[in-house]
Structures are given as C-alpha cells and as structure tokens.
C-alpha cells in the first residue's frame, strides 16, 4: 500500500515538512527555496522507483504504470516551476505557503488521476482547484490578482455545482458512483446524456474548452505567473489525463455521443482560441488563448478513443509542459526585472538577451508545432490519432488552425528577432536556478521529439 500510494505520500510528507519548517520560522527565503527545489527533485526522481500497480480502498484509488508516469510528468512540471520562478519566489513573503498550496493541489491531481469513483474524483478535483484559487490571489497587492482569484473561485464553484448535479443524476440513474461499475449501467438514455453533458461541462471548464473557457484568460492574466503556469500546464495536464480515462473507460458505452461532442468542441476551441490569441498584447493572456487552442488539439487526440489517443495525449502534455513552461519562464524573467509583460515590450529582445530569445523561440515553435522541436511530433501524433477515426474534415480544420496559430506565434518571434526598438529591455539577470530550468525546458523541447524511445516508454 505504501508503494502504491507512494507519490501521494511523498507529496503529503513534503507538505507537512514545509508546514513544520514554516512554523519553525528559522529559514531565509533563499535557503527555503533551495530546500524545496531539492525536495521536489528528489520527489521527481523517486517517481521512477518502487512503482507498484494496484487498487486500494475498494476501488476508490487505483494505480497503474501509466498513472505513475502521468504523475511523474506532473512532478517534473512542478519541479520546473520551482526552478523557473525562483526570482518571484524569493521576493514573495508567503513562499512556503504557496508551495504548500501548490503541493496540495498537486496532491489533488494525483488523487484525481488515481480516482476510482465519482466521489474521489469530485473531491480530488476540488482539492486541485480551491488551493489554486488561493494561489491566484498571491500577488496580494495587485488588484488584478484578487480579481483573478475571485473569477476563478466563483466560476469554479459554479462549475462544481454543475458537475455535482450531473453526478447526482448519474447516481440516480445508475445507482453507483464507482468507475468500474458505471460502464455496465450506462446505456445512453437521454437523462444519462444530460448528466454526461453536465459532467463534460465541468471537465471542459477545467480544460478551458470553448464555451466553458471564458475564465481562463482573465485568471491567467491576473494571477501571479507561477500560478498561471501551474494552472495552464499542470492542472490542465492532470485534468486531461483523467478526462481521457473517464471517457475511454467509464463512458465507453456512450462513445458515439462523446466523440461528436469532443469533435465539435475541439473545432470550436481551436478556432476561438486562435482567433482570440491573434489580438492579444499581454503575454500571459496571449499564452492563455494559445493554451486554449492547444487544448483543442488535445481534444483531437482524445477523439481517437484508442490507445494511441491516450499515449499521444500524454506525450503531448509532456512536451506541452516543457514548451509552455519555457515560455512562461522567459516571460517571468522579463516581467520580474522590468515589470513589462506585453509582447511589444519584447521588441528587440534578441539584441540584449539572446539566450532568453532562443529559449522563447524554441518554446513558441514547439507550441506551433514546427520541427525539429518536440511540439511537431506531439501535434502530429495527436492529429494522427485523431485521423484514425477517419474524420478528415475534422483533421483538416485542425491542420488549418495550425496556420492561424503559427501567425500569432510568429508575431512574438517577429517582435523578438526582427522589430527594431530604440530601447529594448535591458540585459536581464537570470539566476542560476531559472537558467537551469530554462535549459532543461529547452533540452526537453529539442530532445523529447527526436528521441523516439520516450514515446515508446509512454506507450
């Protein structure tokens, strides 16, 4: 039981460790951060050992090698966040609390991925949401931060209500909340479809699928960059994982319905996300809409409904973590020193900060799906998985959306590399851990695609 729940236990241990350290009040921010980074690194490394598959608590909790892998990917993301946002953390008064909340949310995500019934699912979902809402408010002095937190907590409460209503209907119609028993009771009656739509909407809310995405940009913009990146990368990844397994396993009998639903929402998400991203100035907002569009692509992969769909989504999330975190890392480096977070402020960045520029370029190319970055492979496999159902219209739309997305990614590239600026941002000092984080991300962006064994490993 210890090894089965190893990931959760480790994270819980870290949370309590931090709690005690915090209460002890004996540590400076820098050393505290270093401690956290080391702990998270160990946590990540530990993820590769002593893995046991198994089911606990009467099916409420399950662990398979795929789930462990997914958790490890999330661990990696959290570790990278601890590296990349070091300058913000160092300045922050409540850094340990931030990590406690983040790790609680991470714990929630672990339980989410491992959940074996709707109750666990719901609780884990809340555990992974409510702390994040608090995290969104961590720039305590900023109006936008509290506005973001308010928007997040209210909309997520609303979506919880919808989700719960859906769950209650499912419970009423089937008499069970266990994932393993549900498929035998689901037969696609209208009420079940209705309940499924309610449930789906909650997933869609978390994943920012159109039209449930509206909170995303505002929250991303207002929240501290670390929260934003956690929200856009880790929590999206976790929800995507559970979304897939829910659709594939639990709602397998209703595949016809959810396939179509995924398809139309995917198209809408890609289009809307891209169209909004086109005209954004704020980098965080820009990345928010771009991540909405990315979710559209993830849905393409999900629509496949087969093993390839799962592995390609996991693979994509891994790549997405590297790419998006790299982009956020660069953005935060600029923002924390200069306070600028607009795309136009990046004009002429290459003149003063070639390293940041290249990392940003790599990240954006990866997001746009340009080879040889890993994003190319990720997107291509998603599309391939999606194409396996034979719906070429859908794939064509997705492929054409890649062009629109390329346009706005290139807009940033243009600002960084081409546009002339009389006063480009000054040379930015990046501390060691952020540099390390960016390097890891860049290496990940390049290598995850080219080294095909990583994909095989995921499979």
């Amino acid at each position: 039981m210890l090894t089965i729940m190893k990931s959760e236990l480790l994270v819980t241990a870290i949370i309590f460790l931090l709690l005690f350290v915090k209460l002890g009040k004996g540590m400076k921010n820098e050393s505290m951060l270093l401690l956290i980074q080391v702990l998270l690194l160990l946590n990540f490394i530990a993820g590769f050992f002593f893995n046991t598959e198994g089911i606990l608590f009467d099916g409420m909790y399950q662990s398979t090698s795929m789930i462990v892998l997914q958790k490890n990917i999330l661990n990696l993301g959290v570790y990278l966040i601890s590296l990349l946002f070091s300058s913000w953390f160092k300045r922050s008064e409540h850094m340990p609390e931030f990590f406690m909340l983040m790790l609680s949310a991470l714990l929630g995500m672990f339980f989410l991925i491992s959940s074996g019934n709707l109750l666990m699912f719901f609780l884990a979902l809340e555990l992974s949401t409510i702390p994040v809402a608090a995290m969104a408010n961590f720039d305590l002095d900023k109006k936008r931060s509290s506005e973001a937190a308010m928007k997040m907590i209210l909309t997520s409460a609303f979506s919880s209500g919808i989700l719960l209503f859906g769950i209650s209907l499912i419970y009423g119609a089937t008499g069970t909340i266990s994932f393993s028993e549900l498929p035998q009771h689901l037969d696609g009656t209208p009420l079940q479809v209705l309940a499924f739509v309610f449930l789906f909407a909650a997933f869609a809310f978390k994943l920012s699928i159109v039209p449930f995405h509206l909170w995303t940009a505002d929250v991303y913009e207002g929240a501290p960059m670390a929260t934003t990146s956690f929200l856009s990368v880790i929590s999206k990844g976790a929800v995507a994982f559970i979304f897939i397994s829910t659709l594939y396993k639990v709602f397998q009998p209703m595949q016809g319905t959810w396939y179509n639903m995924v398809m139309i929402l995917s198209i809408a998400t890609m289009i809307i996300g891209n169209l909004f991203a086109l005209r954004q100035q704020n980098i965080k907002r820009f990345l928010a809409f771009s991540s909405i569009a990315q979710v559209g692509f993830i849905l393409v992969g999900i629509s496949s409904g087969a093993k390839e769909g799962l592995s390609s989504v996991v693979y994509f999330i891994l790549i997405y973590i590297f790419s998006n975190l790299a982009a956020f890392g660069v953005a935060t480096a600029i923002e924390s020193q200069t306070g600028k977070e607009n795309i136009d402020d990046c004009k002429g960045l290459y003149q003063t900060n070639p390293f940041l520029s290249w990392v940003l370029a790599l990240a954006l190319f990866s997001l746009a799906g340009i080879p040889p970055t890993a994003g190319f492979f990720g997107k291509l496999f998603l599309l391939t998985a999606g194409a396996s159902t034979g719906s070429y219209f859908f794939i064509t739309i997705a492929a054409l959306n890649m062009i629109i997305s390329l346009y706005y990614y290139l807009r940033v590239i243009r600002a960084v590399f081409m546009d002339k600026n009389e006063q480009p941002v000054e040379k930015i000092k990046i501390d060691l851990s952020a540099k390390l984080g960016l390097t890891i991300c860049a290496a990940g962006i390049v290598l995850v695609g080219l080294l095909s064994w990583i994909y095989d490993y995921i499979q």
Binding site: L119, F122, L123, E126, I130, A133, A134, N137, L140, D141, K142, K143, R144, S146, E147, A148, A149, M150, K151, I153, L154, A157, F158, S160, G161, L164, F165, I167, S168, L169, Y171, G172, G175, T176, I177, A217, D218, E221, G222, R285
Partner: protein, 104 residues
C-alpha cells in the same frame, strides 16, 4: 394533493438549482453570488439524498456524497470569502461589475 415521492423531491432540487443559477447570473454582489452557489450545492445534496432514499438505499453513497459536499462547500466558502475580503480591500467594493478590469 399527491403523496410526495421521488419526483417531488427532484423537482424541488432542480428548482432550487436553477434558482441558485438565476441568482448567480443576476446578483451583482459577490457575497450574494456566493449564496447562490450555496443554494446550488444544497439542491445537489437534496438530489443525492432523494436518490439514496428512494432508489438506492442498499448503499450509503448518496449520504456520503452529501456529507463531503457539505465539507467542500464550507472550504470553498471560506476561501471564497477570504478572496472577497481581499478584493474588497483593493477595490473598496464587492460589486462584481467593479472587478472586470481584465477583459477581451
């Protein structure tokens, strides 16, 4: 008057749910919006209990769901209120329409 049964309870719950939804849509005060959310959650609870009683009394899934929802609702409300208070400090208002600086 008909003997009350499952459908009555379901109606109450659904009506309460949409009353909450209506409140969420129309209330401009953040605290009242939070109250609407509480109504929504309560309606769900009612649903669970009703289903548990009338259809699936063989297990206590609905009951437990309800208990946990109440717990979650408390946590959520606490965090929400903390956030609202913080918002009030910075905006000097808890009118939702005063907090829409970020848009488009």
């Amino acid at each position: 008057m008909i003997e009350p049964g499952l459908y009555h309870l379901l109606f109450i719950s659904a009506a309460l749910f949409f009353i909450g939804v209506y409140g969420f849509f129309t209330r401009r005060n953040l605290v009242t919006m939070l109250m609407s959310v509480e109504l929504i959650l309560n309606s769900v609870n009612l649903n669970f209990i009703a289903f548990n009683k009338y259809l699936w009394p063989n297990k206590l899934d609905g009951v437990f769901f309800t208990i946990f929802i109440i717990a979650i609702a408390a946590a959520e409300a606490a965090v929400a209120i903390a956030i609202i208070i913080n918002l009030y400090r910075s905006h000097h208002s808890i009118d939702v329409e005063n907090a829409e600086e970020m848009k488009f």
